[in-house]
């Protein structure tokens, strides 16, 4: 007789996927789970060894290697050790584009009332250095932060100055549409090794349509090439946002990325914030997005099979969780949630928010996730009443619909998304688009692993080994 260890399961493609507490999985024939709980698995069976090795059953009430299992669990949650690593500075809401899905409530280029003050920058940097993490990411967002080169330089110089006391490793990221990558901006990026994260929606017509401009694509490509020349090809990354129109062109978007010299893409769905909330039927949008994702992924797999190395970054983040013992730094899929634990936003208005989406809610008059002013003390922002209230429901190990899900170890909790789409932070999984999207993507990846293992697994492993995570 054996003992059970904590595990969850899901039926898929006439198989059962068993996932233990640390995310290791085992694919078994239908009926296996029932046999396991009925204690019918015999010691002589190969399955017995697999289940034992996979920490799903155990000969003793407590596994002899429980310390190892605990270490594995801790490794899966290492993002918690560092606490807030990603510090987003919204330097301004001013922007030079007019994106149809803008989530950031951007303003006209001349509206300086929406710029962050230098005092706010200094105070926010002080808060950033209170983070226990030895490495920090200081990310500049907007609006379009490249419109304010002096403020960008001031922020980085202030951080560099302050870091002389703290000696942390700081990574700077400029999130830009690449339209305004002037000599001055590129000098700053070169001097301080700033990474460029840009948006490129793929095809020229599509990109221009999404930006509400006729020349946006040409300008972005020009900017990207300029940045690559000055900073190096590997210092510029791009992601696309799938508008409704984009969903018609999965292959074409991938091909456009290849033609522009990219070897990876991040397929990002719209989030229901800002102008994007105008979409009438989110359920239909996410159904279409899943089809788009599957089509694009299939095309990317075919490219890799033909010898062209190309990564889908979102898939790789999930695969890293499924196929390795490690966690990722991706704040949108963490449990406990990435908000506060991994990311904080210092907004142009002098307030700290729990996430990028939280400040977007604030632009619409909802301050639920405003944690305090940058002049407040560190503890009241990061451990205050609001943070504690959110913390009650930010782990999918404890919330209905998630705690029994086989894919819990690969997914995350998002109280901000729950609040904005369902009216409360706890959320309701049967109608959650977050749940639906991630569950279907993870199921699709397992389907590929089950049905096309020999074909896809070597490709997936190459992606994991060659992606930052």
């Amino acid at each position: 007789m054996y003992n059970l260890l904590p595990f969850r399961f899901e039926r898929l493609n006439s198989r059962e996927i068993l996932v233990n507490e640390v995310g290791d999985f085992l694919i078994a024939p239908t009926g296996t789970v029932q046999r396991i709980v009925d204690k019918e698995i015999q010691k002589g069976e190969e399955l017995y060894k697999d289940l034992t090795a996979g920490y799903i059953i155990c000969q003793t009430p407590v596994p002899e290697l429980i310390d190892l299992l605990a270490t594995r669990l801790r490794t899966k949650k290492t993002f918690l050790d560092n606490f807030t690593v990603l510090h987003i500075f919204v330097l301004t809401l001013r922007c030079n584009q007019n994106c149809i899905y803008c989530q950031a409530s951007s303003r006209n280029c001349n509206e300086s009332a929406y710029d962050m003050t230098r005092e706010t920058i200094i105070q926010a940097i002080d808060l950033m250095f209170r983070s226990p993490s030895t490495s920090l990411t200081m990310e500049f967002q907007g609006g379009e932060p490249s419109l304010l080169p002096e403020l960008l330089r001031f922020a980085i110089k202030t951080a560099e100055q302050k870091n002389k006391e703290h000696c942390k490793q700081i990574t700077y990221v400029l999130c830009t549409n690449s339209i305004n990558l002037t000599v001055e901006i590129l000098n700053i990026c070169s001097q301080y090794k700033v990474l460029i994260s840009t948006s490129l929606d793929g095809l020229e017509t599509l990109h221009n349509h999404n930006r509400g401009k006729s020349d946006s694509y040409a300008n972005v490509i020009k900017g990207i090439n300029k940045a690559r020349t000055v900073l190096g090809v590997d210092r510029v990354s791009a992601l696309m946002t799938a508008s409704e129109e984009s969903l018609k062109y999965p292959k074409e978007i991938i091909n456009a990325y290849l033609e522009n010299g990219f070897h990876s893409i991040f397929l990002r769905a719209l989030n229901p914030y800002g102008l994007a909330t105008k979409y009438a039927d989110w359920s239909e949008y996410y159904d279409q997005f899943i089809d788009f994702y599957k089509g694009a992924l299939d095309h990317i797999i075919e490219l890799n099979k033909s010898g062209i190395f190309f990564i889908e970054e979102f898939t790789t983040l999930i695969l890293r969780k499924i196929l390795t013992p490690f966690s990722t730094g991706f704040v949108d899929l963490q449990s406990p949630s990435g908000i506060i634990n991994s990311v904080i936003v210092y907004n142009y208005d002098g307030y700290a928010y729990a996430s990028d989406e939280s400040r977007m809610l604030a632009e619409h008059g909802d301050y639920t996730f405003r944690l305090g002013q940058v002049t407040d003390n560190y503890d009241s922002i990061f451990y205050g009443e609001k943070a504690q209230k959110i913390a009650l429901i930010w782990a999918n190990e404890t919330i209905a619909g998630c705690s029994d899900c086989a894919f819990m170890a690969y997914c995350g909790a998002d109280p901000v998304r729950n609040y904005s789409t369902q009216g409360n932070m706890y959320g309701f999984r049967p109608t959650s688009s977050f749940c639906k999207k991630h569950k279907q993507i993870i199921q699709h990846l397992f389907s590929l692993i089950i049905e096309r293992e020999d074909e896809v697994l070597p490709i997936f492993k190459r992606w994991i080994n060659n992606s930052v995570g």
Binding site: N3, P6, E21, T60, P61, I66, D404, R429, P430
Partner: protein
């Protein structure tokens, strides 16, 4: 599940024996139906629970009835299996999380074998 019947064009009545499928198992099964159905639930007697599902929008077709019957039946069985795993592994999960996140500060390595002798 003891019975499963369509009692109106938009209503299904099912009865569940809680000695077979306890309240936790039944609740978790019904949770996933609440996007499409209102749930009305009362006890017929000490063991039998009476549940009425009312479709929020439109009527229930014959195909939908059969699909729902299969789905509820399968989910009751699956959540019962999950419940068995949860009950049997609760202590070991607690120990695992304590060991993983206690930082070795406040955690006394008490006699795990006795505490977990399930």
């Amino acid at each position: 599940m003891v019975s499963f019947d369509q009692i109106a064009e938009n209503r299904i009545q099912l009865t569940v024996d809680i000695t077979v499928f306890n309240n936790t198992v039944t609740t978790k099964t019904l949770y996933w139906l609440q996007s499409d159905y209102f749930v009305f639930w009362n006890s017929l007697n000490i063991n039998i629970q009476n549940i009425i599902l009312e479709k929020k929008d439109g009527s229930i077709s014959k195909e939908e009835f059969l699909e729902l019957k299969n789905q509820i039946n399968q989910n009751l069985i699956d959540f019962k299996v999950r419940d068995i795993v949860n009950q049997e592994t609760r202590n070991i999960r607690d120990i695992l999380y304590i060991k993983a996140f206690s930082h070795g500060e406040d955690f006394e390595d008490y006699n795990l074998m006795n505490d977990c002798d399930v």
